[in-house]
């Protein structure tokens, strides 16, 4: 709200700097409470993952032990089996033996295109929905909601036969467009709400100046829409990145993305899995996201400070 960061300060407009001066000091108990709460939350959110990250360097008998959960920390079995308290076997197995990198590349392709296409379609559609006053826009939004209510597993089962008949089953492109379509209701709703919060005058005055609707959109709206787009993009990204229902059914093994690949490490009733490969794969898949989120949080924080939004 009123606090600023080093990053903000760099990007801040003169107007924002003026605001900063008016910030008042906050009471100490409140700050403690607020910080304490965030710390508790971060522990709750991050602990299972940190536990997984640590455990990925142990053997299965330690990480999934019923003898004593301390084994996952001390690595009793890991020392006995590998001679060291830490082992890279899981990583070695997933990346070298099972070619996990292939799934990583596929996920990269799928998420990139899903995010780009979703946002392109979604900003155009969401903008139109926010600016058109006709009644049908309401019904389009409602239809989108109903589309979103249908469980994915039902939709996917319906795709199989037509996709095989058309010969488009198994390809990344098919999966990308299906994920875009499935995600579109969410994207439309979210961006529609964001565009509603951008004042109409902004693009309308551009149109008065002689721009077409599209030019107004490009010149007046696009520069200020990034915070909403980035937040929506984050969710599109997470959907494509975490999807199992669609990707597991529509992709061949060589085109598989990470989540179905990880699932195949887990084994089934009759066949033993390589659970530690799955654990190592998950941990190594999170690392690049750290960089990504670190990068985009600056956009989220700084994007809105430009002040144009609230005029």
């Amino acid at each position: 709200m009123t606090d600023t960061t080093a990053a903000d300060a760099k990007l801040a407009t003169p107007r924002r700097r003026r605001r900063r001066r008016s910030a008042t000091a906050r009471s100490l108990p409140l700050v403690t409470l607020s910080v304490g709460f965030v710390v508790l939350w971060v522990i709750a959110a991050a602990f299972p993952f940190l536990w997984t990250a640590w455990g990925s360097f142990k053997v299965e008998a330690d990480f999934f032990s019923r003898q004593d959960w301390m084994n996952a920390i001390t690595g009793v079995q890991t020392i006995r089996q590998t001679g060291d308290a830490f082992t890279g076997d899981g990583y070695q197995g997933a990346w070298v033996e099972q070619d996990f990198w292939r799934a990583v590349i596929n996920t990269g392709i799928v998420t990139f295109f899903v995010v780009v296409i979703s946002l392109t379609f979604g900003t155009l559609g969401g903008y139109a929905l926010a600016r058109s006053g006709y009644r049908y826009t309401f019904w389009i939004l409602i239809a989108a909601l109903i589309f979103r209510a249908m469980p994915h597993v039902t939709l996917v089962s319906g795709y199989l036969l037509p996709f095989f008949q058309l010969g488009i089953w198994g390809y990344l492109a098919t999966t990308i467009i299906v994920l875009v379509a499935i995600n579109q209701p969410f994207t439309l709703w979210m961006l529609h709400s964001f565009f509603l919060s951008i004042p109409k005058d902004l693009d309308e005055s551009a149109m008065v100046d002689g721009c077409t609707r599209f030019q107004a959109f490009r010149l007046a709206v696009i520069p200020v829409m990034w915070p909403g787009v980035i937040t929506t993009g984050l969710f599109s990204f997470l959907l494509a990145y975490n999807d199992f229902t669609v990707t597991s059914m529509l992709l061949t093994a060589e085109n598989q993305t990470m989540v179905p690949a990880i699932n195949s490490f887990l084994g089934s009733t009759q066949a033993e899995g390589k659970v530690m490969y799955a654990v190592a794969a998950v941990v190594s898949a999170i690392a690049p996201l750290f960089v990504l989120v670190m990068f985009f949080q600056r956009q989220i924080v700084s994007g809105l400070t430009a002040g144009a939004v609230k005029g």
């Binding site: 009123t2 910080v35 939350w41 959110a45 991050a46 299972p48 997984t52 309401f138 670190m294 809105l304």
Partner: protein, 342 residues
């Protein structure tokens, strides 16, 4: 905006949704009205590594002819919706006849597959959704007040429950809450009951699923609120401060009203997602004590060797209707907003 411009803008979105969502939904609804042809069976001898047995099998040739004549199967109207696997009207009638008091009646109705699943689904939806919104809101307020340098890592860690694929997330948590796992034994010590097991009792299983649901979805609410907080009008905030409003009053009278549309949006999405809860049930092996509508669909489509499309289609349509009913208040609100805007 003129119709032509509007349609150009919306076309790509609409086309993708019509092709890959609306058409399949249409076929799902159509499918739910039909059942499979009467199977033509023949008795044959099957021989394999374990000897020979006489077994019945489907006469594929005869079936092909039937299917060519009528590809969708036999028309069954809303029969599938009413059968024992779904709304079970006949069985409810029977139960009504044979029970004397409401308690036993409800008890037996709740044992029917759809109603059993519905009870869990609704409890999950109505407990998880508000907690997600409230928790997400306070996290957003807390994170927003942090100094800039640590904001990035905090946001990243806050997103982890959402980022880590539920496949592994629930597997790891499942072992952590095991009676011998780190969380499980910590709880035992905390409660002072060395036999406590979260997996053994129906109530605790439900609580575990609720807590997981809140933990998993709170980051979603957090991110939306956090992005929204950046746009809280500074002028209003400043004038509130000038008027001597306390911090809480500012949150109550400036921030919350401003974030209300976002809260509606989160509620909308969360009600919908929670109503379709599925992954946690499988992830936590909770099938014995909790089933949801999505679980029934999954079971129809995947657990048998040949999927039951009509049954799954009927449950899916009922799920969608359920979502629409749940969202009614929000929809009405949107309708009012819309008319105001127009």
């Amino acid at each position: 905006m003129p119709h032509r411009t509007f349609s150009l803008f919306i076309l790509p979105s609409l086309l993708a949704m019509i092709l890959f969502v609306a058409l399949p939904i249409g076929s799902v609804v159509y499918q739910s009205l039909f059942i499979e042809h009467e199977q033509v069976m023949v008795e044959v001898e099957n021989c394999g590594p374990f000897g020979c047995t006489i077994e019945r099998r489907v006469d594929a040739e005869a079936m092909r002819e039937l299917r060519e004549a009528q590809p969708a199967g036999r028309f069954n109207g809303i029969g599938t919706y009413l059968n024992a696997g779904h709304l079970a009207v006949d069985r409810i009638g029977e139960i009504w006849e044979r029970t004397d008091d409401w308690g036993t009646f409800l008890d037996q109705v709740m044992n029917l597959p759809l109603y059993k699943a519905l009870i869990f689904t609704l409890s999950y939806t109505f407990i998880v959704t508000p907690f997600v919104i409230i928790l997400g809101f306070f996290i957003a307020l807390g994170v927003n007040a942090l100094p800039g340098l640590i904001k990035g890592p905090v946001i990243f860690f806050s997103l982890l429950p959402m980022i880590v694929t539920p496949l592994i997330g629930s597997l790891v948590l499942y072992w952590m809450i095991d009676s011998r796992g780190i969380i499980g034994s910590a709880l035992q010590t905390l409660v002072g009951d060395p036999t406590l097991s979260l997996k053994a009792s129906p109530t605790l299983t439900w609580v575990t699923l609720f807590v997981y649901g809140i933990w998993h979805s709170a980051p979603f609410a957090f991110v939306v609120f956090y992005a929204g907080l950046q746009g809280v009008p500074k002028d209003t905030m400043e004038s509130a401060m000038v008027d001597g409003a306390s911090r809480w009053e500012r949150v109550r009278f400036v921030t919350i009203p401003y974030l209300m549309p976002l809260a509606t949006f989160i509620a909308l999405m969360q009600l919908m997602d929670n109503f379709r809860v599925f992954e946690p049930i499988v992830g936590f092996s909770a099938e014995a004590n909790a089933t949801s509508l999505s679980y029934l669909i999954y079971s129809d489509l995947r657990s048998a060797d040949s999927p039951l499309f009509a049954s799954a289609a009927a449950t899916s349509v009922l799920t969608t209707l359920g979502v629409i009913i749940l969202l009614m208040p929000v929809l009405v609100r949107t309708w009012r907003d819309f008319n105001r805007k127009a």
